[in-house]
Symmetry: none
Subunit: 264 residues, 2 copies
């Protein structure tokens, strides 16, 4: 029941919005904020707008890149106002919340899920979206979809708190393929799951993708001077269906085996 939800703010330009986001998070019981390339989160305006959620701002950690900020997270949800091509699955806010609510029954305490919020106007870059396992959209008025950052964080944290709290305690829910990223059967009655049966961390995924790049380049399959679409397609497939640690170990084993000298 105690998944840790990590709110990652990327490129935020208005300091007051960081305060509003902190306040919104805390009203729903969430306190972990991480920052990537944002404006100041400790300005007088940010603290004022947080309206007493100063602790969230003061404990917020800064990271150089989004990859660093989510390295220890097993699920990474990007929030995006726009539908994009070639994206990982785009789901409505409630569907994502329900998925995470189910996960909170099976993941051990303290495992981390990231909710990533982009810059106020431009949103998340394609590079950032490529690090996400899911995209979230808040359904809204197509003629006026102007939710500000604080409002978006408010709706998302409200939905998450509803989904996580509404899951009946002590009544293990079978997870028939609900979380499709894992193909291992989950025994909900056993909370001391092998961490390698959980979706891999973002850090482990990064190592896997690096390895895959090396193989694709050394075999001549991918032109390193123009890898973009191919690389993105492969990454998005595996991010949308994030393997477990055990599965990743197999894939890396296959890659390593292809790199060894062959006996013919």
């Amino acid at each position: 029941m105690s998944l840790e939800i990590v709110f990652v703010m990327v490129g935020t330009t208005h300091t007051g919005n960081l305060g509003a986001a902190a306040r919104a998070m805390k009203t729903m019981g969430f306190t972990t904020m991480r920052l990537v390339d944002t404006c100041s989160h400790l300005s007088a305006e940010a603290l004022a707008r947080s309206s007493g959620a100063n602790d969230v701002l003061k404990n917020a950690q800064s990271f150089d890149t989004l990859a660093d900020a989510i390295a220890d997270c097993r699920v990474v949800v990007g929030t995006s106002a726009r539908a994009r091509q070639l994206a990982v699955p785009l789901l409505a806010c409630r569907e994502i919340a329900d998925e995470i609510g189910s996960l909170s029954q099976s993941l051990p305490d303290g495992e981390k899920v990231a909710m990533v919020f982009g810059q106020e106007r431009s949103g998340l870059s394609n590079e950032s979206l490529d690090l996400c396992t899911r995209l979230l959209r808040i359904p809204c008025n197509p003629d006026f979809s102007s939710l500000n950052l604080g409002s978006a964080v408010q709706v998302v944290s409200y939905e998450l708190s509803q989904a996580i709290a509404s899951v009946p305690l002590g009544a293990p829910i079978p997870m028939p393929g609900k979380w499709k990223g894992s193909t291992e059967a989950v025994d909900a009655s056993d909370n001391s799951a092998d961490p390698d049966d959980l979706p891999a961390t973002s850090e482990a995924m990064g190592h896997f993708f690096d390895h895959l790049d090396r193989v694709m380049i050394s075999t001549g399959f991918m032109n390193p001077d123009n890898p973009r679409l191919l690389r993105r397609r492969v990454r998005r497939y595996f991010e949308a269906n994030r393997p477990t640690g055990n599965e990743l170990a197999i894939f890396r084993g296959i890659l390593s085996a292809t790199e060894k000298p062959r006996n013919r």
Copy 2:
């Protein structure tokens, strides 16, 4: 299906909050605001905070009393941060929204439901609460329940829009679960999708698995005499997350590339 939801603001003291409320309403497709004994709703600050929902503010009607403001409404929901000694049922936001969602199926078009928001600090007076048919509470952190007015209106209108489903979705959202195996964005308006963007056929999957077996065996990664668990794990992963034809083509391309003689 076209109940009219009327947002009634009572005793609001901060003009910016009226702008934020108008913006929040409009993002979820609601535009009817009524005012009782509030500060100015047409100040520069209110208009600025509405961020383009000026029409909601300009069309807002003022009333002398709450009784007047809700005279034509059949359901009146009071919002209250505090539990009170009360007569009418106090329900969570989602329960109220579900009730109103059901009502929207049975009430004739144009019938009105009021959502009443009190003064920022003191909330609704007992006299006002007595005019309500329901009380609504937004579940939140018991130690930090400081939702501001705009955030409360945002959550309530979001829940209502979800329950009534009167808000057309701006961009197509894939059906829940249906496309989880595909990482391609789905254009719901286009029914003549490229078959290679659909989950691959079982036949194609079979060829892929055969190819993968050959590579795993030729590289020495899998012992063909005892392949069982390894092979099953790999297959289950890809079957649970069946790639599209396009994705499969890439994977097979990688496998073929590793089989070619290498230039070192």
